[in-house]
């Protein structure tokens, strides 16, 4: 903590910042940063220069390197190459503690607050006011000061005794911002601050950010939402594939130009496409809703069709997929599989109804890492390889070997532990699990995340094969090029609604990203 424990007075806590003599024009200079994680280059000579007292935006697609860049700034990781300069001084050994001492503070996306603490305790944790200079909490003063600070800074009457766990997302964020302000920050980094907020709360957050800027605090603002960037940022740096592709004035730059900067243009011919014929609807969703995630969602997936879906964090796309598979219960609407109403109240019911889910968190939900390829493959279809109550091991082995061949799973043998396979081959095992069931609808959540390019192509070929054999496929992905190459039709979700439903051939990544960021309006193909 930068504030010495217990010695802070009300005057010190006042939020007015005195303007110090300006030493360097830049509060932050991150130069040519390189960072590799397990052989994957997350940052490749990335630069970020933030002018003192400005609100500086940072945008980029998922995986562009935003969070890596921020973690380097926070001292959580050390860069492999490049330099970080804070306030004109090069920082070679940045730690989280050192970063805070230098006045760089973070408002994390996942609010780091103790849910069982009161607002007052959360604000002063680590720098608690004390009684008579003894190690005794001064609860009364803590509460009084908390109320004063919240009122003076934000004009909010948040009761200092309210429990943090009972506050809503916006209130928790206020507590976190206030906590950061108590440390008199020079630079405040907001990481996707509006993901869990409603519009009205976003407006008040922007008012707060404006006020902080006027007090001389430098703000770095990371967001997916381009219109937010245009609303509050004086400049914005665009990251793509670990490199900064440019820093521009967002207000003088058309939205479409920003999007073009974010999206790479080179589409390789990595998408096999057999002749697929769209047949009868296999999945029909009507009026599906889940409070706080999405509402009135209707869509259809036909047999032999690959439908893509994309949306930013908070768009509700993830939750929609979870609802379809019964991992979460929808509040309203109906789901039909092959024309028969399905109540996916549990994953078991969904599987019985012919659904298959390939989850994003492969290691957490997709495979049992400590079981073998054979066991993982037949775990969801043991009834198909069983003779009475016993497993027909010969039949199981034959089935598993067939799938290993068919999917080209690279494994020493069928009894190898899945833990020992590469990411791409683990993903193939997940697919094999459902192939062995011959499901009629496949829900794929980020099927190629963390998979190398070679394995990607093979997975695309498999997905194509699923549809060619008459199954319906719904792919959720944030990789727009993947969706464009793979899918027949693409749906875009924004803030809980499907705002775009278009044939893949009739759109491009720029248009999709515009829809996903809420500036493309609503477009539905007939």
């Amino acid at each position: 903590m930068a504030v010495p424990s217990g010695s802070a007075t009300a005057a010190e806590m006042s939020m007015s910042q005195t303007t110090e003599p300006i030493a360097a024009p830049f509060a932050l200079e991150m130069r040519d940063l390189v960072k590799d994680f397990a052989g994957v280059r997350a940052l490749d000579r990335a630069n970020l220069h933030v002018r003192r007292g400005s609100v500086h935006g940072l945008i980029g697609q998922n995986g562009a390197g935003k969070s890596t860049l921020i973690k380097l700034l926070a001292g959580i990781h050390a860069p492999d190459a490049g330099s970080i300069t804070i306030d004109g001084v090069v920082q070679s050994h940045l730690t989280p503690h050192r970063a805070e001492q230098l006045g760089v503070h973070f408002i994390h996306q996942d609010r780091l607050l103790v849910p069982t603490f009161t607002v007052a305790e959360s604000l002063f944790l680590g720098a608690e006011p004390r009684r008579f200079g003894l190690p005794l909490l001064h609860g009364a003063r803590m509460r009084r000061r908390a109320a004063e600070i919240l009122r003076d800074t934000f004009d909010v009457a948040l009761p200092p005794d309210a429990l943090v766990g009972e506050l809503n997302a916006a209130q928790q964020q206020l507590v976190q911002i206030t906590r950061a302000l108590l440390n008199r920050p020079k630079v405040l980094v907001f990481d996707e601050p509006t993901a869990a907020l409603v519009r009205r709360e976003v407006d008040s957050l922007f008012a707060i950010i404006g006020r902080l800027r006027d007090q001389g605090i430098t703000i770095v603002y990371i967001s997916h939402y381009l219109h937010e960037i245009q609303e509050i940022c004086g400049s914005v740096t665009v990251l793509r594939n670990g490199t900064d592709v440019g820093t521009v004035d967002p207000r003088a730059t058309p939205m479409t130009d920003l999007v073009s900067m974010m999206v790479a243009r080179d589409i390789h011919d990595m998408f096999p496409r057999s002749r697929r014929v769209a047949g009868a609807p296999v999945l029909s969703v009507a009026g599906l809703g889940l409070a706080g995630a999405f509402n009135d969602v209707s869509l259809t997936v036909r047999r032999g069709e690959i439908v893509g879906m994309t949306g930013l964090v908070g768009s509700g796309a993830k939750e929609l997929l979870r609802c379809l598979f019964g991992l979460q219960r929808a509040d309203a609407g109906r789901v039909e599989i092959d024309g028969a109403a399905l109540r996916p109240r549990s994953p078991a019911a969904a599987v019985a109804g012919g659904l298959a889910l390939v989850p994003e968190d492969r290691r957490g939900h997709g495979v049992a890492l400590s079981l073998s390829v054979r066991e993982n493959t037949t775990i969801a279809s043991l009834d198909r390889v069983a003779r009475g109550p016993l497993i027909d091991f010969a039949g199981e082995r034959a089935e598993v070997d067939r799938l290993i061949r068919e999917l080209a799973i690279k494994t020493p043998d069928r009894d190898t532990m899945v833990r020992n396979l590469s990411g791409g081959n683990q993903q193939k095992v997940v697919l094999a699990k459902w192939l062995s069931r011959q499901s009629s609808l496949y829900l794929l959540d980020e099927p190629t995340v963390g998979v190398d390019v070679g394995a990607k192509v093979e997975i695309y070929r498999l997905i194509d094969g699923l549809a060619a054999n008459g199954a319906g496929v719904l792919v959720l992905s944030s990789d727009l090029l993947e969706l464009l190459g793979l899918c027949d039709r693409i749906l875009v979700m924004y803030r809980g609604r499907i705002v775009c439903d278009t044939p893949a051939a009739a759109t491009d990544s720029d248009a999709l990203l515009l829809h996903a960021t809420g500036v493309g309006g609503t477009a539905h193909a007939a």
Partner: protein
């Protein structure tokens, strides 16, 4: 601790007007009120039906009877606060009861070897702390789940106790034991005063000092505590050391009560776990607190005492304790899920 009477009314001031508080708050209030009500109701029923329950002497006795388990439960409370009260992954010290057994054996053996109280007390405290230190190392440095780490240490303690005592009763007497087992100022046994004293000390440390607040932060959300710059591991380790010291203190009470070190201390474990977990319902935040633990220790003592007076077999108490654990864990975990 701030007063518990809080209005969640948020003035619709400025732009960040607050929507109503999250659900779950009312349910928590009900649970807390219900628990206090149960406490009072059980008290009233015993007062009305159990002969002699209301006697000042009997009530004072209850405090004395729960002293050993109460002090152990205070130690458990420290560990639960620092480790978070997730039943599986959170903080728990299963070695407490057997640590007491080992400490009692050490105390009685050292006295029996002709050493004075000073040396015996020192050896006992050192034993309790050492066991706490082993727990701390296993949990903090080796990263073993507390449930498993302390289970292993529990067995080590049980084994060492057998080595010392050869599974027999080691009689002990000393001036300190005489004091603890002796006079009753104001009708309350000295044992009871030790419990109240330990409660008072730990109440100040845990509920009134910055260190206590930080221990709660470490248990409540480890990442948040780390982000606040707290040395998380140090706090967790300290909670296990404190718990070990509580076992040493409780062992003195046990030796005084039974005039020696006896076998079977491990049987107390369930009661200790119940007492610490039960205490959670007396707090507005559904976390373990020192006053909550004292209340629940008294509640359990009251049950045992009342059943005795009513001539109900004491075997029933075990069953009742088991049911109480289930009820409390079910209620609190449901409420926590809702609040999420």
């Amino acid at each position: 601790m701030p007063p518990d009477s809080v209005t969640m009314q948020v003035a619709p001031a400025a732009d960040a007007a607050a929507p109503p508080p999250r659900r779950g708050e009312t349910a928590r209030k009900l649970l807390r009120a219900g628990s206090l009500l149960t406490f009072v109701a059980v008290f009233a029923v015993f007062a009305a039906t159990a002969p002699g329950f209301l006697n000042a002497g009997n009530l004072a006795n209850i405090v004395g009877q729960v002293a050993v388990i109460g002090v152990l439960a205070l130690g458990m409370t420290l560990v639960v606060v620092g480790g978070g009260n997730d039943v599986v992954r959170g903080g728990i010290d299963l070695s407490l009861a057997n640590n007491l057994g080992l400490c009692a054996a050490v105390y009685a053996t050292v006295l029996g070897d002709g050493w004075g109280d000073g040396a015996a007390l020192l050896a006992t405290a050192a034993t309790g702390l050492l066991v706490g230190a082993v727990n701390a190392v296993s949990v903090v440095l080796l990263g073993i789940l507390p449930l498993l780490a302390t289970l292993a240490v529990m067995n080590v303690c049980a084994g060492l106790e057998l080595v010392l005592t050869h599974n027999t009763v080691v009689a002990a007497s000393s001036p300190v034991l005489d004091v603890i087992a002796g006079e009753y100022p104001a009708g309350v046994p000295v044992l009871g005063y030790v419990l109240l004293g330990a409660t008072a000390v730990l109440f100040v440390v845990l509920q009134l000092t910055p260190a206590g607040l930080r221990l709660y932060a470490v248990g409540g959300h480890r990442e948040a505590a780390r982000a606040a710059g707290l040395p998380v591991g140090t706090y967790v380790a300290a909670s296990y050391l404190g718990s070990g010291l509580c076992a040493a203190l409780a062992s003195l009470l046990s030796v005084a009560l039974l005039s020696g070190s006896t076998t079977g201390s491990g049987d107390m474990l369930l009661s200790v776990v119940v007492t610490a977990l039960l205490g959670v319902v007396f707090s507005r935040r559904l976390v373990a607190t020192i006053p909550g633990t004292l209340l629940s220790a008294l509640f359990v003592g009251m049950l045992i005492n009342g059943f005795q007076l009513l001539n109900v077999s004491s075997y029933w108490v075990n069953g009742v304790q088991g049911v109480l654990i289930l009820l409390v864990v079910a209620a609190t975990s449901t409420l926590r899920r809702e609040a999420r």
